[in-house]
């Protein structure tokens, strides 16, 4: 526990590159102060492995969204370091930030589609990061982009809705359109902030299945926040519990017993803190211990 808090950073560029290859997203002593003594994030140290699905669990206000917003630079930390795809987010210039964001797809709880715009145009908007200049109608997008968008729509099963207004779709369909939009970026990392919180259980499962399938097919690093524990266990390779901006739980989902599941409930909701003690935490951390030398070095660099 103690050494994971020592801020020794890897010294050689080779080592750093190796770590960047293994961990798409790294958070190093990240603290976010919202002013008035409110800590959005409190000394968070996390490394997200490339190609894995991680789920952040926690009540509202626990810091899940804040954490996600740090990863694509919508928030900047008060202290600490956020490193995404080998780039330190706080050291980037505006144009560099834009190019990193192009590699990070984001899915929102409220879908954030432009309601009166057609479904296809909404998906095309996903390519804006790599296009120059504003586009105010569908016909202003290059033909290749429109074709790509239609293919992405087909992938999420909504090609027949291409020319319908986005706000005439159901919630589950809108979220699938939002996923198609994110796919237009050909992202390496996909962030999903409560992607199914506004959906009914059936649509929620559909969206989660779709995300899982896409993650596997495109080798995407997915970081999602959820508040349904079963859905999270079903979906993720790894679960991270947050409470008042602190990491209170971190473990792999493989081989969870029913008892451990109920412990996750209580640790995340904060009803029974004692049951998920540091010994458990340490065990989990040990279970995830790296096997190779470089990974071990990475661990010393405080990336769990």
């Amino acid at each position: 526990m103690t050494d994971s808090h020592s801020a020794s950073r890897p010294t050689t560029p080779e080592l750093q590159r190796e770590i960047d290859r293994i961990y798409a997203v790294q958070l190093d002593h990240v603290t976010k102060d919202f002013g008035g003594g409110v800590l959005g994030l409190d000394d968070v140290n996390l490394g997200f492995r490339t190609g894995r699905i991680s789920v952040l669990l926690g009540l509202s206000g626990s810091g899940k969204s804040t954490l996600l917003r740090h990863i694509n630079g919508l928030h900047t930390p008060a202290s600490g370091r956020v490193r995404v795809l080998g780039q330190d987010m706080d050291k980037l210039r505006r144009s560099e930030l834009k190019s990193v964001r192009r590699d990070i797809g984001v899915i929102f709880q409220s879908f954030n589609l432009v309601g009166p715009m057609s479904v296809l145009e909404n998906v095309c908007a996903g390519a804006l990061g790599s296009l120059r200049g504003p586009r105010i109608t569908l016909m202003m997008y290059p033909k290749a982009v429109r074709r790509g968008a239609l293919e992405k729509l087909d992938r999420v099963g909504l090609a027949d809705r291409a020319y319908q207004r986005a706000d005439t779709l159901s919630g589950g369909q809108q979220q699938r359109v939002a996923i198609a939009r994110a796919l237009m970026q050909q992202p390496k990392v996909l962030l999903a902030d409560e992607p199914v919180a506004s959906l009914d259980p059936v649509s929620a499962h559909d969206v989660i299945d779709l995300l899982r399938q896409i993650s596997a097919e495109d080798d995407l690093t997915v970081i999602a926040s959820l508040h349904q524990v079963e859905l999270a266990i079903d979906f993720a390779d790894r679960i991270i519990g947050l409470r008042t901006g602190q990491v209170v739980l971190d473990r792999a989902t493989a081989g969870l017993s029913a008892e451990e599941t109920s412990q996750i409930y209580s640790s995340v909701s904060g009803t029974d803190i004692a049951e998920v003690g540091s010994s458990d935490d340490a065990n989990i951390a040990r279970a995830q211990m790296p096997k190779t030398g470089t990974e071990a070095a990475a661990r010393v660099g405080a990336y769990r």
């Binding site: 432009v114 020319y163 207004r165 004692a274 540091s278």
Partner: protein, 558 residues
């Protein structure tokens, strides 16, 4: 106990007693406002006796205006078309000016704090300077005719349209814009992708609303030499030809009501179509999209000619045609425009330095009269308009016939331009403050009642339901749920009325309804432009004071 648990223990913060809100200050200010209103009514000598005694005048007036002398049909159409063309171009100009101003002024789209502040200030000043004054300035610059009126109304309207656009942008869901930001879109991409289509219905509705207002203003601008029906009315009344003047006024009245109804129905259609389904086939789809089904199989990459797309293209075409037609009709003199702009420094120098014309006492006295008129008119107007507005709300009065007929009353009163009311009252109760006050007070029914009715209808019905389930009577529900929810809106609307009335009171002075407006007109007639500047500075100061007061009140009453 573990380290994790220790860290997780939340810091204990003692519950803070909320600071007492400024209730006593609020009550004092409201009382002062009410007292000022009542005092103004009393000091202007408005009482039932005065109104009753002018009854004979009214009878005399009506005997002088019948039979109404309508101009021949061709001339009427020509006047109406000229007026509509001026108003159309003025509104279009103000929309074109307002869009960038609003983008700079709104928080999500601003370029920086400095430019946001500048844009907000521009909007406030555009509102504070009456279009009449702007018209006088521009008439000096560009000569008599439509150009000055178009530019004057176009600039003054930015005060309302720019503000409403900026508010609308701020009220939009920021999510879509943020999602474009998150995927690496540039600032302009964020704004132009997320905002235009979402904002379009509101954009058009606001423009139509302003069109109604500018139509009324254009009549007034006739008095200083801008063309159209207003000029014809001013000419007839100057020669005491009441039969012709009132006939033209009736035409204006009909025009206003027709335009109000047309724009109202367009606005309603716009609002209804947002969120409506546009998929599915209509005859338009069948005509343009024979055998087309969008899908990835045949890779159709152009949107089909849906009703919505057809309507978009048709509207754009109509807008362009109307603009060309209006420009052609009012015959904007481009050379005068350029010459006027070239002479700008010289024109500006005419207005500076501000001068009192040697009668500061008189100026201040007349300014106070104008303030009294607006206070009294707001006071009487509120007394008349609040009950009417409440009765017109369909969630207060269940009887359809009752609330509908009050709605119709509001529309009819709204249709009557305040200028026409002022002219009538000037003739009935003689030149002076009483005429202006009564005209504005009646006009308040049109403006305030509608706003009151709308905000009562906007209250959360579920709260009322909840109260009913506890066994509260209808009156209890009204006072505890409906009125309480609508109270902040009431305050805001009444302050808005006061704010409008100060400017209207100034303008109505032009037709002899008392106050500083008459001095304004005189100063411009004898080319005392430096006095005009002085009057303007005084007025802007008053308007800004009222604005500050109303902002404070709106924050206090929540």
């Amino acid at each position: 106990m573990s380290l994790v648990a220790d860290r997780a223990a939340p810091a204990v913060v003692a519950p803070q007693r909320p600071r007492p809100s400024g209730n006593s200050t609020l009550a004092a200010i409201v009382l002062i406002c009410l007292a000022a209103g009542a005092w103004s009514v009393w000091s202007l000598g408005i009482d039932l006796a005065t109104i009753a005694s002018s009854f004979d005048n009214a009878v005399g007036f009506f005997s002088r205006i019948v039979p109404l002398d309508f101009p021949e049909f061709g001339q009427t159409v020509s006047l109406v078309v000229e007026t509509l063309a001026i108003v159309f171009l003025a509104t279009l100009l103000s929309v074109v000016l307002s869009i960038p101003v609003a983008l700079f002024a709104a928080r999500p789209t601003r370029m920086g704090r400095g430019s946001q502040w500048t844009a907000r200030t521009l909007i406030v000043f555009a509102r504070a300077i009456p279009d009449l004054v702007l018209a006088i300035v521009f008439l000096r610059m560009f000569g008599l005719g439509a150009t000055a009126g178009i530019i004057a109304m176009g600039i003054h309207s930015v005060g309302m349209i720019g503000k409403l656009y900026a508010d609308a942008i701020e009220e939009l869901d920021d999510g879509p814009r943020e999602s474009i930001e998150a995927l690496g879109g540039s600032r302009s991409q964020q704004i132009l992708t997320a905002i235009p289509q979402t904002l379009m219905p509101q954009l058009i509705a606001t423009a139509l609303h302003r069109f109604d207002i500018n139509l009324r203003t254009s009549v007034l601008l006739g008095y200083v030499g801008v063309g159209g029906i207003g000029l014809a009315i001013a000419d007839s009344l100057r020669t005491l030809d009441y039969q012709r003047g009132m006939a033209l006024a009736v035409i204006v009245l009909i025009l206003c009501i027709v335009i109000e109804l047309v724009s109202g129905s367009i606005r309603a259609a716009l609002m209804a179509s947002t969120g409506a389904k546009i998929n599915g086939g209509t005859w338009v789809d069948r005509m343009f999209n024979r055998g087309r089904t969008p899908g990835v199989g045949d890779l159709i990459l152009t949107p089909p000619w849906s009703v919505a797309r057809f309507r978009r293209f048709a509207s754009a075409a109509v807008l362009i045609v109307l603009t060309i037609a209006a420009l052609w009709r009012v015959d904007v003199s481009w050379s005068a425009l350029v010459a006027g702009l070239a002479d700008l420094p010289q024109t500006v120098s005419l207005f500076f330095p501000p001068s009192t014309g040697g009668t500061l006492g008189n100026l201040v006295e007349q300014l106070l009269v104008t303030i009294q008129i607006s206070l009294a008119a707001t006071f009487i107007g509120a007394i008349l308009a609040v009950p009417i507005g409440v009765l017109a709300a369909r969630n207060v009065v269940a009887n359809r016939a009752v609330h509908k007929s009050f709605r119709v009353l509001i529309v009819v009163v709204r249709g009557i331009p305040e200028l026409i009311l002022a002219i009538i009252f000037v003739v009935i109760s003689g030149l002076g403050e009483v005429a202006g006050t009564l005209a504005l007070a009646i006009g308040a029914i049109g403006l305030l009642s509608k706003l009151i009715a709308d905000s009562v209808e906007e209250t959360d019905l579920q709260v009322q339901e909840a109260m009913r389930t506890t066994g509260a009577g209808e009156a209890q529900v009204f006072f505890s749920a409906t009125l309480r929810q609508a109270a902040p809106a009431f305050v805001a609307h009444i302050m808005y009325l006061l704010d409008t009335n100060i400017r209207s009171a100034t303008l109505l002075g032009v037709v002899g309804a008392g106050g500083i407006g008459f001095l304004l007109l005189n100063a411009s007639r004898v080319n005392q432009f430096d006095v005009l500047t002085m009057v303007l500075i005084l007025m802007v100061a008053v308007v800004l004071l009222v604005e500050a007061l109303s902002m404070w009140l709106r924050r206090a009453v929540r």
